[in-house]
Amino acid sequence: MRNVIRLVWFDLNHELRPPIWIIMEWLTFTIQLAIYGALISQLVTGISNYQQFYAIGFVVMMTFDMGSHTGRHFVEHAHEGRLPYLLSLPIPRSKLFLSIALQGGIELALMISVPFVVTLVLIGNFTIISVVAAIATLFCLGFGVAGVMLGLSFIAFKSADLYTAITAGLSSIIIRFSTVLYPFIFLPPSYAAAALFSPLTHGSDLVRLFLGFDPNILLNPVYSAAILAALAVSTLGLGMFILQRLVEGVKSA
């Protein structure tokens, strides 16, 4: 376990030097919420406070971004020459995978910490249990998305451009066809049918439920929790399989 912590710390230290990008993400969230969120909430009817709804949606989108960043990060490791080095270290592949997952989790926690606290302050009505449940949902979603991106990483070993195109396309579909910005009951039927398949729909609805939104405008929480848990477990399992069985360091010459 000591080596896992060393790996996480070493890589995290690299990623956060300097920590500008995380600060920029926090600033983006604050500006979006304070200006766009406040303005748009004046126009939206049918939801008692759209700014709060929007804040949670934005945190969920950041979680999704961070999850896909973890997956992409792994691919970048391969192309920058770090993966062959990591693969040659005297540690089992399972521990290497655990370190990647843990690092992703810590980065996620760092990135959403400020936006999440701001959202909680904005909502004002929460309990310790509801906050813990909401955080657990976000982590479940983050790990699931990272697992999907890791699962797609084998494409990157053939073509980095193809991987970028596929993940960018997939990300935009997953975000657009979801309930991060609009409640499920207000979506047109065709749009709503597609949104049911987006993990962001289930992540955002579950977090909203835990933070006190009206259950009538949200999906069935048991259904959403089951889908998110299944996604995290299956895709992380797939990612681990890929790392143990398929992944090879990209040959440099």
Partner: protein
């Protein structure tokens, strides 16, 4: 038991076959140099041994451990210095080495002194607190080599350890590699630099197009070249050169003898160590004074040319 053994090892990248049924053995505590041009399969072999790549078929063992069945055990006894030093752009050399030493199990009490010693010896001490991205190519390469010199594994694998490094730096790296072997490590080096191979190798394996062409000591490989040694003679003026030239041609091992001016000859011989005493004996019998003798051995580039029909050092990779 061999330190490394591969049997019928193959590796395919799509339609390209990088290794074509390679059989390769490495004894304990020897320095084996893999010599071959770019694309001959050297790096692929090293990466398979380091468990970074998986073989397509065949077996590869490091000590008693199979690289596909016991990869973690393999990684615990070997270390690899990669061809290209890349990756941790925003870390500093001292941090990179500290991390590497810790994860490879170098005792904490030895880490800092070992790092300081190696960084000073490879002239990286001044650059220890620079970011990796600000290091020169030669400094980055020396840092890559330093990882293994601190780790001191049982099997140390170096992929082109001194490429991009100046001559002074090369000598330092070579001395450190020799020291590593003296302390009991087995060394496997891939290179296409003839000087590096000549300086370091106990044995050389010539790889060409994914196959081992030959494997022997540098001396034996050179001796395999018929007429590979060149002996240049200068005799005292007034010698009956026509007669002596005929007699020199009769010495066993003479492949060709040409006159290089008055009383000067250039002989291509198989083994100069055997030919020169016979030649001096002949001169003594003929009461002919030798003014000078100069023996030139074939280079490993000549050896490579002899075995593969191709030059190793082209203007591109020399």
């Amino acid at each position: 038991m061999y330190a490394v053994e591969t049997q019928n090892l193959t590796k395919r990248y799509g339609k390209t076959q990088a290794l074509k049924g390679l059989d390769f053995m490495l004894d304990s505590e020897e320095i084996m140099v893999l010599l071959g041009p770019n694309g001959s399969g050297k790096t692929t072999l090293l990466l398979i041994l380091a468990t970074v790549l998986k073989p397509t078929s065949g077996t590869a063992k490091v000590g008693s451990y199979d690289v596909t069945k016991q990869p973690t055990k393999v990684r615990q006894v070997l270390g690899i210095s990669f061809q290209e030093a890349r990756g941790f752009w925003r870390h500093k050399p001292a941090e990179i080495l500290r991390f590497h030493a810790a994860i490879c199990g170098v005792p904490k009490s030895r880490r800092d002194t070992a790092i300081e010693e190696i960084l000073k010896d490879l002239e990286l001490w001044e650059a220890r607190n620079k970011l990796f991205m600000h290091l020169s190519g030669g400094q980055a390469k020396r840092l890559e080599v330093s990882k293994l010199l601190i780790q001191r594994p049982k099997l140390a694998i170096f992929d082109e350890p001194s490429s991009q490094v100046d001559l002074r730096g090369k000598r330092k790296i070579w001395e450190q590699i020799r020291k590593l072997r003296e302390e009991g490590s087995t060394i496997l080096i891939a290179t296409n630099e003839v000087r590096e191979a000549e300086y370091l190798a106990d044995r050389v394996t010539i790889l060409d197009q994914g196959k081992s062409v030959t494997c022997d000591s540098v001396k034996n490989l050179k001796d395999e070249i018929t007429g590979g040694d060149i002996v240049e003679l200068e005799l005292e003026p007034g010698t009956d050169s026509a007669r002596l030239q005929e007699e020199l041609k009769q010495i066993q091992g003479t492949v060709s003898l040409v006159s290089g001016g008055e009383n000067r000859y250039k002989a291509h011989v198989s083994i100069a160590e055997a030919w020169v005493p016979k030649m001096t004996n002949l001169c003594f019998k003929r009461k002919t004074r030798l003014l000078s003798v100069r023996v030139t051995e074939p280079s490993l580039d000549d050896v490579f040319l002899h075995f593969t029909g191709k030059a190793l050092e082209t203007p591109k990779n020399a």
